[in-house]
């Protein structure tokens, strides 16, 4: 990559903490000059660590960070041409507004009249012109954050790093500041790297969004890409509302879910391949099925007074509304199908509970994603005596016939179906114990990621309702455990 291409290049950066856990795991990212890039993810996903590595407050354990083509991985923060806006403002309480903003310029030993001009200009940019000699403690949260932004941009950094700058503000103020930040970005031409956990904020502000989870980048793309074409279940679930379902790609442009076949526009997944599909609740068209049954043709005024439902040969499916909540602009309905799937549907019209409804979705609104793992958990194991196999740092009973052909001490691949893992409410009832780490509702069951106390992840399909962070005991039916040669 030549110097001109990217302003910031993060190359395979990892950050490991003393306890061995990775805050960042092989993260690579390029930012062009003048871009507004948002790093988005739930708390603890490593987004702040990544920002702090770019700012220089933390040093990456592995990998390089390049600024303008120059390696800055080990450069101390005060030498980097970047400035940071902190979540809790971090204004100096012993200095007034003017002195805070002038702090960086005074360190550069600029002439007083230049400083005066620049500070005034910066305060004007953030709309705080009349506050120069106010005590920072006397300002409101929003005003303090404006001063913090002025303090950063007055140094004319090449990159402005913003660490959840609006998180401490109330909703209304946050919305206003979002627009102002976007304006400022346009006006100043400085590259912005913005960290947030608020997906709406990320979609509103950014040129590109970087979605992170567990120290890894899940997807990088424009807000539209991220929303319409999520690359995996995590992104689909984290960004906006979504119906995520297990499906089978029958062939190109044909996918089966909810026991029905649908046309779609995705190709290249092969035939009869298990996949996940995402259908956004606002992409589902919904109408009263009763009107249709009374002999009135769908698409006519009674059924569809606004002519909303597209005409044509679409796969339709039916269900009963179980709940309906008014959300301001739209209604949010939960629809239960007869074969046991649940869909979230958003529509401007109200469909009351117990209404039989018909639904359809356009082929281009079905987003097909590769399944990252399916049906089986894979573990490495070792055959022990007495029909036991050791994996996940514990000893498990298996069916004797599974062990035919294996000797004690053999290394084996262990396969455990998602469905065959039994979670116990009391952790002491399980062979091992763990914590619910991630929950995905798949329309008719939950797909859970359980992190064991030893740090292994295992996937469980269940109909029981669990909460994030719940502790559980883990049992596996002996007859469900399958062994294969390692």
């Amino acid at each position: 990559m030549s110097k001109k291409d990217y302003l910031i290049e993060v190359r395979h950066v990892s950050k490991q903490f003393e306890d061995g856990k990775y805050a960042l795991n092989d993260v690579s990212l390029q930012v062009k000059k003048g871009e507004f890039v948002t790093i988005l993810g739930p708390s603890g996903c490593g987004k702040t660590t990544l920002l702090r590595c770019i700012a220089g407050f933390q040093v990456a354990s592995e990998g390089d960070i390049l600024l303008n083509g120059e390696d800055v991985t080990n450069m101390p923060p005060h030498k980097r041409p970047v400035n940071t806006v902190f979540q809790k403002y971090a204004l100096f309480p012993h200095l007034n507004v003017f002195e805070n903003v002038a702090f960086g310029l005074k360190l550069k030993k600029m002439a007083d009249d230049v400083i005066l001009k620049k500070v005034k200009q910066a305060l004007k940019t953030v709309g705080m012109s009349d506050y120069e000699f106010r005590d920072v403690d006397s300002l409101s949260g929003g005003q303090q954050q404006r001063v913090a932004i002025a303090r950063a941009i007055v140094n004319q950094p090449e990159v402005l790093l913003l660490d959840e700058p609006l998180a401490a503000l109330d909703l209304k103020m946050r919305k206003d500041m979002q627009l102002e930040l976007k304006e400022m970005h346009k006006k100043l031409g400085i590259t912005f790297i913005y960290v947030t956990h608020d997906q709406e904020e990320a979609l509103t502000l950014s040129d590109r969004v970087v979605v992170m989870c567990e120290g890894k980048i899940q997807q990088i793309g424009t807000p539209t890409d991220i929303y319409n074409e999520p690359q995996n279940c995590f992104v689909a679930d984290f960004i906006g509302e979504s119906n995520i379902l297990s499906a089978v790609m029958i062939k190109d442009r044909k996918v089966k879910f909810c026991d029905q076949e649908f046309d779609c526009i995705d190709e290249g997944f092969g035939e009869n391949t298990p996949v996940d599909v995402v259908v956004r609740p606002e992409d589902i068209y919904i109408w009263d099925a009763a009107l249709e049954k009374r002999g009135k043709v769908e698409g006519q005024d009674d059924v569809d007074p606004d002519d909303r439902v597209p005409k044509g040969k679409f796969t339709k499916w039916y269900g009963t509304v179980t709940s309906c909540i008014f959300k301001g602009v739209h209604y949010e309905m939960t629809v239960q199908t007869d074969n046991g799937y649940e869909f979230m549907v958003q529509d401007y019209h109200e469909f009351l509970p117990d209404t039989k409804v018909g639904m359809l979705v356009k082929p281009e609104d079905i987003q097909v994603m590769k399944k990252e793992h399916y049906i089986y958990n894979h573990f490495e194991g070792e055959v022990l005596k007495n029909n036991k196999v050791r994996f996940l740092d514990a000893d498990w009973d298996v069916e004797p016939k599974q062990l035919e052909g294996f000797n004690v001490g053999d290394a084996v691949d262990v396969l455990v179906p998602f469905r065959s893992i039994d979670l116990q409410d009391h952790e002491e009832e399980g062979v091992i114990s763990g914590e619910v780490h991630f929950i995905l509702y798949k329309g008719n069951h939950y797909h859970l990621t359980i992190r064991t106390d030893e740090g292994y992840d295992l996937y469980v399909n269940t109909n029981d309702v669990w909460d994030d962070g719940d502790r559980c005991g883990i049992l596996i039916e002996p007859k469900a455990i399958k062994l294969a040669k390692a």
Binding site: A55, G56, F57, P76, P77, H78, V82, N83, T84, F86, K88, A90, L91, F92, P93, H94, F103, G104, L107, K108, R151, A152, N155
Partner: protein
Amino acid sequence: MKTLSSIFDSRRTWAWPYVLFLVLFVLLPLLLIFVYAFTDPQGHFTLKNFVTFATKSEAVNTFIYSIAVALITTIICLVLGYPAAYIMATAELKTPAVMAMLFILPMWINFLLRTIATVELFNMFGIPLGEGALLYGMCYDFLPFMIYPIYNTLQKMDRSLIEAAHDLGANRIEVLTKVILPLSVPGIYSGIIMVFMPTVSTFAIAELLTRNKITLFGSLIQRAFGEGGLQMWNYGAALSLIMLLIIGLTSFFGNSEDNETQAGLL
């Protein structure tokens, strides 16, 4: 019964014992010192006690010397204590609480015992007692009073302020001089007052560590009351009043600086 219970419920009622305590043991003694200082042994109003102090060069010299010793002790404590407090508050020690406790630990033992032990140590190693020993003993006794308030202020300081300063281009020294030091001023004030005030009036440490060779202002007062007999009480009271004035002035400067000092002091 209703009135009795309402008397007990009232916060006013519970304050009375403390009011009584304050009157008996703080206000009344202060008043007595005041009265004694301006009267002669016969009880007549006089300014003679102050005139005696001002004209006796020995008394004035002791007074100035005491303040000098207190100032030097305070400066040494500040110079030694600030880095200690800074290291404890900022370094990522695994057990900062234990470190802080180690500094406080000597205060668990009565300072007289510690001073006597110090005298024995000096004797054991054959180090002569005198001015040096006095300063050593004072600093040893009062260093924790300097470290603790500074440590407290530094610890409460938002870490992101240091990062913000670095981010704006300050190197380590500039971060210290432009951010950390100004922000620890309240702690420094508290420390100075907590060291300076008791050192001005101390006498036991001086008597023990200098074998009575050096007389501090505190000793002068003590002698006036202890050895001078009843006639000297009025003079002693005048000396006490002068000392109170000095201490009052110091804490007044501290308090007027800002309210946080008061908080740190308390």
